[in-house]
């Protein structure tokens, strides 16, 4: 669904990532992991077409994403940005209905006749129907995260990208969110998700892209990427990888002895 070739991503003169070649395919849940400031969100924005790479191309279904109009791009790729202050006095239904914006002419105020059913289905998918008339400001972080997922669903894009959808969520909320993303991939979507929590990623996704040292250090099945040497290199701290009884892999930072002089 998304093919990125030889990307160089930069803000002005500061190159964040170079030599990036990644693919996102249908039916696949892919995590982008790496330390703070490594360029995970930058990569996600480039894949979504909202950031123009300094070099290289991003193809969405074979078409360069930057050649698409903003609305055409939004019909192909849904991007759920990391936490950003939304106005609190928007109803859940109105927020989700904005996912249909790219499907009508930009000057048209109201949705198409079929939009109501699509919005209803998106709300039902994330179990937000009882919350439809509530204002965003009355929701918990987890509920709000489900609103953004429903908004992306209403976009009906074949590729959906999520930037840290589990930040501010407790453990059960984080796993519940990943379960929703997994089920969307099961339905045929290509899902890319930036995650901070390595263990959550290892337990939930089909494939991992590890970002560090200004490039993609590894890209493959969880077992191939979730290795002590790669994680240690990416995070600059010694990280051991263990297997739990049920075979799940967990990353454990090794405690450094501190010597006080």
């Amino acid at each position: 669904m998304i093919d990125a070739h030889e990307l160089i991503l930069a803000y002005g003169d500061r190159v964040v990532l170079r030599d990036v070649d990644v693919r996102l395919r249908a039916h696949e849940l892919v995590a982008i992991v790496g330390p703070n400031g490594s360029g995970k969100s930058t990569l996600l924005r480039a894949l979504a077409g909202t950031l123009v790479p300094q070099h290289g191309t991003v193809l969405v279904d074979g078409v360069p994403v930057h050649a698409l109009s903003p609305a055409a791009r939004a019909r192909c790729v849904a991007l759920v940005a990391a936490e950003e202050n939304a106005d609190g006095d928007v109803t859940v239904r109105d927020a989700v209905a904005l996912g249909r914006l790219a499907h009508r002419p930009w000057w048209q105020w109201n949705g198409l006749p079929e939009d109501d059913a699509i919005v209803d289905a998106a709300l039902a998918r994330v179990e937000l129907v009882p919350f439809a008339e509530r204002m965003l400001e009355t929701l918990s972080s987890g509920e709000r995260q489900r609103v953004w997922i429903a908004t992306a669903l209403a976009q009906q894009a074949a590729t959906m990208l999520f930037d840290e959808p589990t930040s501010h969520l407790d453990l059960s909320g984080a796993y519940a969110t990943l379960d929703i993303l997994r089920s969307l991939a099961g339905d045929g979507a290509a899902i890319g998700v930036v995650l901070h929590d390595l263990n959550l990623a290892a337990a939930s996704v089909d494939r991992m892209i590890l970002v560090g040292d200004g490039t993609v250090l590894a890209d493959g099945p969880v077992g191939d990427v979730f290795r002590s040497d790669l994680l240690t290199r990416a995070y600059g701290a010694e990280i051991a990888v263990r297997r739990t009884d049920d075979g799940t892999m967990v990353a454990v930072p090794r405690r450094r002895e501190r010597v006080l002089v």
Binding site: A48, T50, S69, P70, A71, A72, R73, A74, R75, A78, L79, V80, A81, E84, N85, A86, D87, D89, V90, T91, D94, A95, L98, G99, L101, A102, W106, W107, Q108, W109, N110, E133, W148, T151, Q155
Partner: protein
């Protein structure tokens, strides 16, 4: 459903209040006419006599100009506040009005005909607003705080330059007419001025209507709006051009009237909620009502003197601005 009902009934209430305000505005003045007489005169536009002359030649165009100015400033404020997601922004504070006023002061000083005012006001209002937005640019977005600071600076600059124009005017009479026009005044305008201003206002309203869906998406945050397919550059430009057309329409017939663009969006949001599909259209009757009532007060508060409406609205607007600013700080 409950929300839609509340919004529709609020909009309807605003329209009804406007119609009542317009009727009272036509009836009240130096010579107060009974409402029955006003309605009879309105029903017979080609009748002769003093009442018909007062109603059709003086009161109706004046009240319609007041309504147009209020509607234009209200929608302009709504657009700017939605675009920048900041309730402290209005065309007065972003320098657009001051820029337009400066050019019109020059036009009066050199004796240009009245129909040129709106065009000149549009060009300067747009140039000023774009300049202020450029000064406020921070990274990829516009910083609301910088916008207000830049707006205040540019407004001061134009105020100084306008004072210079008044001092350099060819005669005391010209200086006085610039001054009285600057104070915000609806005196001495007729159907022709209304026609010119309405042309710019209608263009401004039409452009405003096209950006409403995008402005609504911006309520979820700029990055989310972009992800939803909003063309931010187009939206910003069209909102700025629309706002400048509306400011030009208002300033060309009324001089500088502040705070309407600031207060009206707050009033409308309190009644209809913050959905721009409701706030922008509701700003038309709300803004119109505010200026029609303020003009009526200006005409009748201290007879036989007519108070400048701009001064009157400042007296109401400054405390309202401070209230909004301080309440915002408390809730921030």
């Amino acid at each position: 459903m409950a929300i839609t009902l509340r919004r529709s009934s609020s909009l309807l209430a605003l329209v009804v209040v406007l119609l009542v305000a317009v009727a009272i505005g036509i009836a009240v003045g130096a010579v107060t006419l009974p409402l029955r007489v006003v309605l009879a005169a309105l029903a017979h536009p080609h009748a002769s006599g003093d009442v018909a002359a007062i109603v059709w030649a003086l009161r109706v165009p004046r009240v319609l100009i007041a309504a147009l100015v209020g509607a234009a400033l209200g929608v302009s404020g709504s657009l700017l506040q939605s675009m920048l997601r900041n309730g402290l922004v209005d065309p007065y504070l972003t320098g657009g009005s001051a820029g337009a006023a400066f050019t019109i002061a020059i036009a009066i000083a050199i004796g240009l005909p009245t129909p040129t005012y709106a065009g000149l006001a549009f060009v300067t209002a747009l140039a000023t607003t774009v300049g202020v937005a450029a000064l406020a640019r921070r990274g990829r977005g516009i910083s609301p705080e910088r916008l207000i600071l830049a707006g205040i600076a540019v407004t001061s600059l134009f105020a100084g330059l306008t004072t210079l124009i008044i001092m350099l005017a060819p005669s005391a009479g010209v200086s006085l007419s610039i001054l009285s026009w600057l104070g915000g005044s609806l005196v001495g305008h007729g159907w022709t001025d209304l026609g010119w201003a309405a042309t710019y206002a209608v263009l401004g309203f039409a452009l405003a209507a096209t950006v409403v869906p995008s402005l609504n998406a911006i309520r979820l945050g700029d990055a989310r709006a972009v992800a939803l397919g909003v063309d931010m550059e187009r939206t910003r430009w069209m909102a700025l051009v629309s706002s400048s057309l509306l400011v030009a329409a208002a300033v060309s017939v009324s001089g500088v009237i502040g705070f309407v663009g600031l207060i009206v969006p707050h009033l409308v949001r309190a009644m209809c909620g913050a959905d721009t599909r409701w706030t922008v259209p509701a700003s038309i009757p709300a803004g119109a009502t505010v200026v029609v009532l303020a003009d009526m007060l200006a005409r009748t508060a201290a007879p036989p003197i007519e108070l400048p409406i701009g001064v009157l609205l400042s007296l109401i607007g400054v405390p309202a601005f401070l209230f909004i600013a301080f309440r915002r700080r408390r809730t921030a």
